[in-house]
Symmetry: C2
Subunit: 345 residues, 2 copies
Amino acid sequence: ASVALPVRAEGRTIKWRLASSFPKSLDTIYGGAETLSRRVAELTEGRFEIRVFAGGELVPAFGVLDAVQQNTVECGHTASYYYYGKNKALAIDTTLPFGLNTRQLTAWVMADEGMGLLREMFAEYNILNFPGGSTGAQMGGWYRKEIKSLEDLQGLKIRIPGFGAEIFSRLGAVPQSLPGGEIYPSLERGAIDAAEWTVPYDDEKLGFHKVAKYYYYPGWWETGTHLVFYVNKDQWAALPPSYQAAFEVAANEAHLEMLARYDAKNPPALQRLIAAGAELRRFPDDVLLKAYETAHQVYAEESTRNPTFKRLYDSMMAFQKRADAWWGVGESPMSNFQQAVRRMK
Amino acid sequence: ASVALPVRAEGRTIKWRLASSFPKSLDTIYGGAETLSRRVAELTEGRFEIRVFAGGELVPAFGVLDAVQQNTVECGHTASYYYYGKNKALAIDTTLPFGLNTRQLTAWVMADEGMGLLREMFAEYNILNFPGGSTGAQMGGWYRKEIKSLEDLQGLKIRIPGFGAEIFSRLGAVPQSLPGGEIYPSLERGAIDAAEWTVPYDDEKLGFHKVAKYYYYPGWWETGTHLVFYVNKDQWAALPPSYQAAFEVAANEAHLEMLARYDAKNPPALQRLIAAGAELRRFPDDVLLKAYETAHQVYAEESTRNPTFKRLYDSMMAFQKRADAWWGVGESPMSNFQQAVRRMK
């Protein structure tokens, strides 16, 4: 049944610019913003146009939060832990060492207290946040020498940012801050001993396996890394409600699709890396246990001086305690059986 | 920047009816269709209205495929394995015993060959399929007595449908087909010995723990159960492109949101069930191994006589082989460490 009716008055044309933190070469992560832009255009018959700019084109890659807050651009696509220097609580929007896995983080955000608490925090920046994709659990990076125990971390020069750097430093390593493009040459000439990046599909592009063949897991400092879309709140308030709905639903779709893409692309990428000489290694138990303890000390200290961190962290940890107990019944036993039976064959 | 422009001609009012297979009491699964309907209305400023009817209101709960195919309703929300009797390949749209977990199934569908192959199959029914939510990995059901080995399955009267029933039967059990409402009284009076349903949040509503206290995991026959939206292809073709986009994006959002809701609701439900006397048990290894072997025999036999099944199955299994290898590096070691460290404390 279809009837012609007078059309409503909201058919306005709106043009936004989206500043991404990511280069086009990281097609899966950068593609999240393209998915959003394309879908919003379809939904609004081309009336709401969001033009996507790669990291550095309009504003610096790590200047997206400032640019959206200051209305230099209407919106952005980034990872909140890049702004850890402003407030460590921002990392909770992305991932924490020994934090939630990606399904749990999505559940805490979309179906528990997460989104409400995150929006309280982002309101301080005049920003409205939306889910912006996920990579899933990340790898633990590339090492020129094997890590056989905590001893081998002493003095280790490793490229790693944020909370991960803080924990590695307390374990005796010497964290380095390097942009993506400088990692390979630094590893090659031995200026650093190790570097973490992301997941096999993206790591492969940077070719780290050629200069540091030991590829460690699990990436305990990124247990389910989430990206985010930022929107300037004044710009948001000026949108017709149906355009707001278009942005919101397209962000949720981009969130779902990015993880699906990584889950399809990482398996063959890992196979190619191994064929090219990468050697998989699991972090030894003493490293994992000490890192776990240290992470929780760091969180306890941060909680005493940062009420925003404490509010978000307490909610997330209460969720994690419940969610992990269920994960250990609902998902892990099935995954572990599938792994075991395939090894037996 | 916002400019008033002449509005396009597509502002048509369209009213559809959606037949759900689910009762309103299963709020999370039924809610997937409500999420879709509400979002489509917002996106189209109320012009595309999808009215949701619970299972049995317009057509029988398991009559949704027929009703959409025959244009009795424009669209539906259901699980394709209900139509296993028409073609066993339809189960692959939902879940297979020892099949993909929910992230892997979403990835195979959205970012690998899955959607193309599924749409070929559904074209035979004049239906276009869209992702319709997920419960995650399910539980293995409720048992009046413990299952300590394969022996204990001999003669066991268990309520279970589909491929799960076929495998249980080959293992010596006696599968029963019973609608949801008859399970509790049958268990209570001992007419059946066991029954599988879904996940803690939904199982709790039916109260099985009061009459069969052993709650088994993993639910190896539903490793990541997916729901689906069906649309009649002639009705789809008559939609303006922006309304098609609205339906498609809203289905993806509903898919994401349902899993988030189950992931938030199952953990406290499991805690409540245990507090009420449910006793968790893992299926013994001999049961899991024999069920695994049997499942793959069943698939091999079906593949020889059913080319649609073979096409979908071969693609899915090739994906699973790659994806499980990555899962064993990327996700499982992190989950297993988190489980272990929490047990130690």
